[in-house]
């Protein structure tokens, strides 16, 4: 078997696994909502005394009266065609509800991811290379504080200091136009990424230190290979595996962690939409968002697995030998 065929096989297996995972999760997501407290039909009635036929009419209208498996099947059928149903809270298609909020969430997550990658990986590397120095100790202190700072505390501090007090940044809204949007997203992105940056710093630093301690690194250094080269070719490259894995998973989980900062900065996004939809028992929207996030996780996971061999050729060899 050539390496190329093996690789293609691996990719195919991976894709099949992804599909299976998504199918299983779709079922879990769909059924888990029936365990949630409250009946969406009585929620739709709100504070009224329903007439005899009224509850039945609502149940029929929204398909609440169908057997469970049939409802799941209808839902799945729709999802496969890109139809996530209709939000009974927003009186429009779920896809347009989500689509109107997705771009701002993606921008927020994207900018945060960039910050996490640059500051998290950057300070982790610096810390590891200058282990024990005053810089390293200060960085570690910052990391401890950062990891412990909940996003809402960060959001409140940033907002009142840089937003209200100094007036450097807007405190509400999404902005319009590319530059204005960026201006609006910076504070929320900082608030969102503080904790994650701290985590990535820690992971990066310890992964780098692990690699630095390895025999082949010491051998290379003792042979007189320039330190810079050794660090780039042996230490960083090998450490990158866990760093990429952790960073990618953190970032893909961020889509649902945005609710707090979105609320604090009056932004609209998928995170706050999810919270609102759960609050109001808008099942269709909750299902779609959860599925979306799971899909993001699955895809990122798969990408990380596919990228690993490129970072570290030893893994490709191990893969084809399996």
């Amino acid at each position: 078997m050539t390496a190329a065929v093996a690789r293609a096989g691996r990719v195919l297996r991976r894709l099949a696994g992804m599909a299976a995972t998504l199918l299983v999760t779709s079922f879990l997501v769909f059924s888990s909502l029936f365990l949630a407290p409250g009946d969406p039909a009585s929620f739709l009635i709100k504070g009224r005394s329903p007439g005899p036929g009224e509850l039945a009419a609502i149940r029929r209208q929204y398909g609440f009266d169908e057997p469970f498996l049939l409802r799941y099947w209808h839902w799945l059928e729709g999802v496969l065609q890109g139809d996530f149903g209709r939000s009974y809270l927003f009186h429009q298609d779920v896809s347009s509800v989500i689509w109107s909020r997705l771009p701002s969430s993606l921008l927020l997550v994207g900018v945060s991811a960039l910050m996490i990658a640059v500051f998290g990986i950057g300070s982790g590397i610096i810390g590891a290379l200058r282990r024990g120095s005053r810089l390293d100790r200060s960085l570690m202190l910052l990391v401890t504080v950062g990891a412990a700072a909940p996003a809402f505390v960060a959001a409140l501090m940033l907002r009142s200091l840089l937003g209200v007090r100094l007036g450097w940044f807007p405190t509400i809204g999404n902005g319009s136009g590319a530059l204005d949007r960026l201006h609006h997203v910076i504070l929320p992105a900082v608030a969102l990424s503080v904790t994650f940056t701290a985590l990535v710093t820690r992971v990066t630093r310890s992964a780098m230190l692990d690699e630095l301690r390895r025999d082949h690194v010491e051998v290379a250094l003792s042979r007189g290979t320039p330190r810079r080269t050794v660090i780039r070719r042996h230490v960083l490259r090998n450490a990158l595996g866990p760093i990429v894995t952790v960073s990618a998973l953190l970032v893909s989980g961020m889509l649902v962690s945005t609710a707090i900062v979105e609320t604090a900065f009056g932004m609209s996004g998928v995170g706050s939409l999810l919270v609102q939809s759960v609050d109001q028992l808008d099942f269709q929207v909750v299902q779609a968002i959860v599925l979306l996030v799971v899909a993001a996780f699955v895809v990122v996971n798969a990408l990380v697995d596919l990228v690993h061999p490129l970072i570290d050729p030893r893994m490709a060899a191990a893969g084809s030998a399996r």
Binding site: F152, L249, S268, D279
Partner: protein, 567 residues
């Protein structure tokens, strides 16, 4: 009859509500499938950030009208604590949609800021028989798309509330309606199955909204959503709606009523869920104003250079709902004792920033405006009163045989006000020998207390802020009738039910008021709900704008039309 707010945390009258806020999930290693659960859980974790109320009670007075606008303004920005889910009047039953819609869509009658009712899209109306109401439609009114208002539009709009498939939130106000028909080119007749003294009054609120029949037919299920909007007759027309962010209204140049022609070219509503975010935005001038200022910001906004804080007429009462009459609270003496042991003055001071009054009934005094002045005082005089008296309360509870029984008080960690009230009620329960247990629910679960009987199981007490959308105590008391949806504790008293029925059927003001007063007396003797305090409507306006009339009528009155530039 439950136009009164369910008063769930999601629809609180004080606006200090936050949706449940998720906690950051720190995902180190995550299995994809596990995230499905995590994503749902994220929404049930929550955190409230509220500052303790100021110690010093702020002096307050009610304002009928803020200084009139000196001239027009191009636009202003207004904040709401949540985004409307739709602006279809059939589903508009909450502060955010109603305060927007009030400027866009008009009703047959109008609820004025002084809580009176006057003709609007119906130029006049008559009541030839007790079960017939005839409305003459105002000529010369056009919809935002330029078409003229006719009786067909009125018939189509009102009939939606009768259709079970629409599931209008106003169906209950239409429960005594037999038919709605066009009886002339500009005349509509509503026939009732039984005399109903509130039906006509409700036509000044959401139930009387008129939309173009052609637009209703054309938009279908999408009517009122961000893509389609609405097409009504108000001083502002629907402009644009960016989901999750803002909704913009534009001045309607073809508006029929010169008195309420909009002074602003545009109003932009921004949705700011977080109370602190809203207060910050007022301070920084990013937002020009908003209704429902959080009580813990009264002091701050009362003294800021950024604008002025006003208080106005309200119909809201904060009540502790007795949700379980099978437990220790089943004995009316225990409910009376509990109310006597609650330090309501202390709650107003600590929880509402000193802005409010202890409530001596389940409705505000101004709802009795329709009663003849002479009878009004007499009606209210013999109300049972429950002044703060822990010693007497304890004795009364002992007489009822309460000893160490558990009562569960549901709450949600939303804001300081809710927390303070809950603590005070728990303290009172302890004082009369009960064993209070505070059950803190996520706001999601708390909301379901108002809609789902199953969610109320095991809960004895919960808090609500309940307003009425007509100037009539019946709006409140009818919702406590046997079997009414909002009669959460399943309270039943035949004499009370009869009094309410009598009030519903009585068109004569004196007779109506007398029946209402009797219902009120019974309710206050029995206390199916415990009235705590009343709070005025609050509104903040930045230094650029002025002109609004602060009043609960902002939910149905085109208040934004009066806002213009300061002199």
């Amino acid at each position: 009859m439950s136009t009164a707010r369910p008063g769930s945390p999601a629809h609180r009258s004080d606006g200090t509500t936050h949706p449940t806020r998720g906690r950051v999930t720190r995902v180190r290693h995550a299995v994809a499938a596990a995230l499905a659960a995590a994503a749902v859980l994220v929404a049930s974790g929550c955190s409230g950030t509220a500052h303790p109320a100021e110690d010093k009670p702020a002096a307050y007075r009610l304002t009928d009208k803020t200084p009139a606008a000196a001239r027009n303004v191009d636009s202003f920005t207004w904040s709401t604590y949540a985004e409307p889910t739709t602006i279809d009047y059939a589903y508009s039953f909450d502060f955010p949609p109603n305060q927007i819609l009030a400027n866009v869509c008009e009703s047959l009658l109008r609820w004025n800021p002084d809580l009176t009712t006057s003709p609007n899209l119906a130029a006049s109306f008559a009541n030839p028989t007790p079960t017939t109401w005839v409305y003459q439609i105002r000529p010369g009114v056009s919809f935002h798309d330029g078409t003229a208002l006719t009786a067909d539009d009125v018939v189509a709009s009102l009939r939606r509330n009768l259709d079970p498939a629409t599931a209008s939130v106003w169906a209950n106000q239409y429960k005594n309606v037999k038919s709605i028909d066009k009886t002339g080119a500009m005349e509509v007749t509503v026939t009732l199955t039984t005399p109903d003294s509130t039906f006509n009054q409700y036509l000044a609120a959401g139930p009387g909204t008129v939309e173009s029949a052609a637009t209703l037919a054309k938009s279908g299920k999408d009517y009122g959503n961000p893509q389609t909007g609405v097409n009504c007759t108000g001083p502002f027309s629907f402009g644009s709606w960016t989901s999750g962010q803002s909704l913009t209204l534009k001045r309607f140049d073809g508006y029929w009523n010169p008195q309420l022609k909009a002074k602003s070219g545009e109003v932009k509503f921004v949705f700011l869920a977080d109370a602190t975010t809203r207060v910050n935005a007022f301070q920084s001038g990013e937002v020009d104003g908003g209704w429902m200022v959080p009580p813990n910001a009264y002091a701050q906004l009362g003294s800021t250079q950024a604008g002025t804080l006003y208080f106005g007429r309200n119909t809201t009462v904060a009540d502790e709902v007795v949700a379980n009459l099978k437990g220790p609270l089943g004995d009316p003496r225990v409910r009376q004792a509990l109310l006597m042991a609650i330090d309501r003055k202390g709650i107003v001071k600590a929880g509402a920033g000193g802005v409010g009054e202890v409530a001596d009934s389940l409705v505000t005094d101004n709802l009795w405006a329709g009663a003849p002045a002479a009878t009004r005082d007499a009606l209210l005089k013999d109300l049972p009163k429950y002044p703060y008296d822990p010693a007497k309360a304890k004795a009364l509870a002992a007489e009822a045989g309460v000893n160490g029984q558990k009562v569960v008080i549901a709450t949600s960690p939303l804001d300081s006000q809710t927390t303070i009230i809950t603590q005070a009620v728990a303290q009172a329960a302890t004082a009369i020998g009960l064993k209070p247990q505070i059950d803190s629910l996520s706001s999601e679960k708390y909301t379901t207390l108002f809609t789902d009987p199953a969610a109320r199981e095991g809960i004895d007490l919960f808090l609500t802020f309940w307003y009425t959308s007509i100037t009539d105590p019946l709006d409140m008391y009818a919702s406590l009738q046997t079997g009414a949806f909002s009669n959460y504790g399943g309270w039943s008293n035949p004499a009370f039910d009869k009094a309410v029925d009598r009030a519903v059927g009585a068109y004569d003001p004196a007779e109506h008021a007398a029946a209402n007063a009797e219902a009120q007396r019974t309710a206050l003797k029995e206390l199916p709900w415990l009235p705590l305090y009343t709070q005025p409507v609050s509104v903040f306006m930045g230094k650029r704008i002025t002109g609004v009339q602060p009043s609960i009528a902002y939910l149905y009155h085109p208040w934004a039309a009066e806002i213009g530039a300061k002199g």
